[in-house]
């Protein structure tokens, strides 16, 4: 419908402008501001005005072992968490598709963790992983562990404990989305595959999987991006420790900026992170064929 083009354009502008204004103020402007800060020494709570120092905050990052370590820890955490959540969640989606009585109720219960306040989930898991009285050690004891297990204070275990807590919350999410995507595949597709003599295994690889492609893509990117930004569990359970073993990039930025009060370096790290995530997001946005709807 195109009656008077100019009036239309004005209406469109009026409709979109308020939202864009908010986004410019809270998304675009802060990014530019972060760039600006990252070129300065900038210390929180000190009265000296910020001083321009060029790219040296960025140069310092290259020599910063903690920064390099945080990249590596982030990578480890994201890779393990996303892989576990995706594979288990995907398998569970098939499990929960079984047409059995009571399955719908079980499914509703299974997705309850998704919306739990992440900080509260950190709190609960902190309690469960407690070395002295936590339930996790009790289970370990029942399974015959010879001594208390330091779930949160051993470097190797700590990151796996974080993964478990993260997976507790997000595996149901993967399950839910993949379940919905599975339900969207019409029955006749499977009937046709059966007529064509495909084995269940072949049907999975050649029919089901290709039809689930865009859902898989969405879920994977969301899990990667959100695991990358996760901070609440670390805040409550490990605070980056022990010895930097769980210091992800997110946590490192948070602690540089607000624990060490070095805003200039934190801004430089933030710019690196935003650019990294933007690249992932761009790939994602390009791949999704939302265009069909426009």
């Amino acid at each position: 419908m195109a009656a008077s083009k100019r009036a239309d354009r004005r209406t469109a502008l009026l409709l979109i402008a308020p939202a864009m204004l908010v986004l410019v103020a809270i998304n675009i402007y802060p990014f530019i501001y972060a760039l600006y800060i990252s070129l300065h020494t900038f210390t929180l709570g000190r009265p000296t005005p910020p001083r321009y120092i060029g790219w040296s905050n960025y140069r310092d990052l290259l020599d910063d072992d903690r920064f390099i370590n945080s990249l590596w820890v982030s990578f480890k955490f994201v890779a393990i968490a996303a892989a576990v959540e995706f594979l288990v969640g995907f398998a569970l989606a098939f499990l929960f598709s079984a047409k059995l009585r009571g399955m719908a109720t079980l499914r509703k219960l299974a997705i309850l963790p998704i919306m739990v306040m992440p900080l509260a989930s950190g709190l609960i898991w902190f309690y469960i992983f407690n070395e002295n009285f936590g339930a996790m050690n009790w289970f370990a004891f029942l399974l015959g562990a010879p001594h208390r297990i330091p779930f949160l204070t051993d470097g190797k275990l700590a990151i796996l404990s974080l993964v478990l807590a993260d997976a507790w919350q997000w595996t149901p999410f993967v399950m839910l989305v993949m379940f919905a995507a599975l339900q969207a595949i019409p029955e006749y597709v499977y009937e046709a595959a059966k007529m064509d003599g495909l084995t269940p295994w072949q049907t999975f690889w050649r029919v089901t999987l290709p039809l689930l492609r865009s859902a898989i893509w969405v879920v994977l990117v969301l899990r990667v991006v959100d695991a990358f930004r996760m901070i609440e569990l670390i805040y409550l359970m490990t605070r980056g420790g022990p010895g930097g073993a769980t210091e992800t990039l997110s946590w490192y930025i948070y602690s540089t900026g607000f624990l060490d009060q070095d805003l200039g370096s934190a801004a430089a790290e933030a710019v690196v992170m935003i650019i990294a995530v933007s690249i992932i997001a761009q790939i994602f946005v390009r791949r999704l064929n939302y265009g069909a709807a426009t």
Partner: protein
């Protein structure tokens, strides 16, 4: 291997009986794993300190509500209800704003052709991926400069912007599903575009408005990072209050879990209410 293909027919026989049992067991195991931490939270909030620190853990006990009473009425300084109220104010305002602004933008993107329409739409989508911690430093400084530190306004604006991307994307999908003729009919009947938006389009996407409002509310309610930096004191929301507990050396687990339970249970109810649109919301319409 037969679970590879969703089983939609009820076959009979002993083999399927055994298979169904296995499926039930696996499903129950997973549900148990999911509910166990929630169970731990709720039971701990009902235990005495002695029961909390007992080894082996106490599984059977008489519940008491002392921790709730303490958290709400006894604790020194501000008590939990103050922060619950802060959370409520911030959550309601920011979701109302996000849904209203998002609906306007979504309608503009869905119904008007103009140069750069797609670019704007994709930009709004891409803000969903912006890592909050990457923006925390500049936003902190902006809020500080404008004197809004430790106010609810700062949080409301930030949460509105964080929720805008998925609200806009989901509602855009809902608007695109309205047959264009219905709106053209209103145009012929004598309505302006703006009134068509308010009186025809908005009522028709009511389920979408409800879904996005609930999702925004949940995200705002749960948000911790910005809250902890921008509103650490009087305007703190419930997650900030919760986090404050862990900073003290001597954790009052009972009270801690009581506040946690009060913060989480309302969300559980919302989640169940949202069932139908949850997937669509969480994947901004990419999967239904």
């Amino acid at each position: 291997m037969s679970t590879i293909v969703p089983d939609k027919k009820n076959a009979v026989g002993a083999a399927t009986g055994a298979r169904n049992l296995a499926i039930y067991l696996a499903a129950c195991l997973f549900v148990g794993f999911g509910l166990f931490p929630l169970y731990m939270m709720i039971t701990t909030s009902l235990k005495t300190d002695q029961q909390t620190f007992a080894w082996p853990p106490v599984w059977l006990f008489t519940p008491r509500f002392q921790s709730y009473y303490n958290a709400l009425f006894v604790f020194g300084g501000r008590s939990a209800d103050h922060y619950l109220f802060n959370s409520l104010v911030v959550t309601l305002s920011s979701s109302a704003l996000a849904v209203f602004l998002g609906a306007m933008a979504a309608y503009g993107l869905a119904r008007f052709r103009f140069r750069g329409n797609r670019d704007v739409a994709f930009y709004i989508l891409s803000t969903r991926f912006a890592p909050p911690v990457g923006f925390i430093v500049p936003i902190y400084l902006m809020v500080q400069r404008s004197g809004l530190l430790d106010t609810q306004i700062a949080l409301i604006v930030v949460y509105t912007s964080m929720n805008l991307s998925f609200v806009t994307w989901i509602l855009r999908g809902f608007f695109l599903e309205i047959p264009i003729e219905i709106e053209e009919a209103a145009l012929v009947d004598g309505y302006t575009r703006w009134q068509i938006f308010l009186r025809v389009a908005l009522p028709l996407v009511r389920p979408g408005l409800a879904a996005t409002a609930i999702l925004s509310a949940i995200f705002s309610w749960n948000e911790f990072l910005f809250a902890s930096i921008l509103a650490p004191g009087d305007a703190a929301t419930i997650p900030v209050y919760l986090a404050g507990f862990s900073a003290s050396m001597n954790i009052d687990w009972g009270e801690y879990m009581a506040v946690g339970t009060m913060a989480v249970l309302p969300i559980m109810i919302f989640t169940l209410a949202l069932q139908r649109h949850l997937v669509r919301g969480l994947t901004f319409g990419a999967v239904r």
